[in-house]
Symmetry: C2
Subunit: 404 residues, 2 copies
Amino acid sequence: MPSASLARRAAHLSSVMPASNPDDKIAFDSGHAFPGVLPDLTSEAADALSRFRAETLQYAPRAGLPELREWIAAHMRADGSAVTAANVLVTNGAKHALDLVCRLTLDEGDAVVVTSPTYFSAIPIIRSFGATFIEVPQDKDGMDVDALARLLDHASAAARLPKFIYNVPDFHNPTGVTMPLERRRALIELAARHRVLLVEDSPYRKVRFEGQPVPSLKSLDTDGTAVIQLGTFSKLLAPGLRVGWAAGATDVLARMAQLKSDAGSCPLTQRVIFEFCAAGRLDAHTARVQEAYRAHRDRMVGAMQRELPEVSFQVPNGGYYLWLSLPAGVDGDELARRASDAGVIVIAGSRFFALGGGEQRGRFIRVAFSHANLDEIDEGVRRLAAACHSLGTSTGAAAGAAAV
Amino acid sequence: MPSASLARRAAHLSSVMPASNPDDKIAFDSGHAFPGVLPDLTSEAADALSRFRAETLQYAPRAGLPELREWIAAHMRADGSAVTAANVLVTNGAKHALDLVCRLTLDEGDAVVVTSPTYFSAIPIIRSFGATFIEVPQDKDGMDVDALARLLDHASAAARLPKFIYNVPDFHNPTGVTMPLERRRALIELAARHRVLLVEDSPYRKVRFEGQPVPSLKSLDTDGTAVIQLGTFSKLLAPGLRVGWAAGATDVLARMAQLKSDAGSCPLTQRVIFEFCAAGRLDAHTARVQEAYRAHRDRMVGAMQRELPEVSFQVPNGGYYLWLSLPAGVDGDELARRASDAGVIVIAGSRFFALGGGEQRGRFIRVAFSHANLDEIDEGVRRLAAACHSLGTSTGAAAGAAAV
């Protein structure tokens, strides 16, 4: 997460700056939204604070506003999951939902399965409960379920099964990979066989640029107890609203609600979101978001191919990020420092490995195409290329020589 | 906390109902605000969602909006505490702040000091970290510091000092008691001698009806490391905003910020609050709140004296509650059930004892005068009296007999 002053500054820059002064750093690090797609919620807020004032300014029910829970359940049913409002707990964003899952399930020393790499914000949350990590490798189709099967067999033999498997099956953060259907089925079956809970974190599911959605893990959870899906309005609408949800079995959700120490999530933001969605504004907004981020992705992919042909990456069909595999001799941590000096913020790949990453540790960086505007994307990639070439890669040195 | 449907219903009732149908239950249980003093925040929200959109709809800094932290620090300095913005962490309400204190300080089996009785929502939060409780008795001046001194001496000898002392020194919840200055000094000195952290939870500090404020524990914390003060806008402005804070030493606050799993509290509600406060609207609003709740208290005190002379209570100079000591033969749990059947919701005193309450367990109920309107207060006390008399107290029976 960048500092807010940086975020505000970048938001300001995106409208006025010529994208050339390296003191005005370009943010490729954050999961911030592109300022151009932030919705106008003023009329919803006016309604929420007048017509619904006695609701929005009092404590809310701990499980969330009933209408919003109904809406989320309908939204999930439209996505293939057999849920009702009773299966939905409103939280202060998806990270809070993950925190509540940890609170419910983890004791000191318990194990949790994550991919290698995994979403870097999940790591300290899980670690703060004293849990240990079991890392599973990934390939172009996501979590390697065969490798997981071997790990779970070992763990089962040692009576040390993990408490849950955490995964981002759609536009995985950071790799951008989406898991195909057959592998999802295999994952569900494997988890069910060992009775290990699956936690499906899917913030980017609707941020799809092309192709058809793959059924969610939750939609494949036929008896409703195998998967807890974490959702959020951060990527659907706006991160600042801090409203997300967990969807799972009613008894599990009821216990998670008891562990909420927040006296109910903010009813004002819940009402604003519900009014926006109930008015039917979300579909058009989602289309606008998809169109904007598709253009951002295309612009960044083009800039990378032009400026940094020596890095490789899989082009994602959705989400916010490219996961760049660096040329030999370029270390991700060092590149992130140099890039910052050159005026573009990226995140070193090492931060995405729960167990340090081993030989993969220095091989990657994550760049977000979400927040910067199109001109900043070009300029930011130029700065990143300059930083990379200053580390003396062969291709970079050659390109530098050719330019002389 | 009542169900939201009940809360909404009661909010609705307060404007239209004749306060006579026992199916329309009157809520004396909740910490909800009186609907008549909920502020009009529509212009602040319009500003927050237009002029400040790039701030309010993106992720906020984890420690809170800088301007709001500055405002809170100035608000605390005006109350005698030597703090700056660096001493302030914005949270999702004061309960979230307590949760973060627990996360930072508690391991399984650690002890925490609470008063007997104590704020009932603090009990499950502290307990969820596997902590045990040390209860300290109270008298009309609050926590018995001599008794605490003996308990800490014992604990110290056993090398089992508690991790912190939790107290509500202003208009204690549930008893309404405010701790006088000399006892506050003694408490600070005692805690400092044993190097045990003091957690001062003071949501009602500004909800004072008469008399001068007593210096806060935080203002008496001369080196700034002895006390963490928990504050909230729930009672200053509106509960639904879910914005509170913790104020303490900068290193402690920085570690608490790291433990926030919420990606920063909601910037929209923070901005709405800041604009309201920065525009100078808070003082007039506070005066209005004090006037309203003073009238509510007076009405409830009068109704109790008229309808239920057999209960005794200390008239509080602020806050939301009366703590009723019941006549012999009336059990608080049973009375709470009967009262609900009679159409008024109260909270049994037993819920406020972290260790069960022993012989005090059944002797009290807590009634809130905050949420109900004046007519509902009269009607609610009549219903409570009927419930109490149905349990056959001597005075009640006599009154009943006299009425025949």
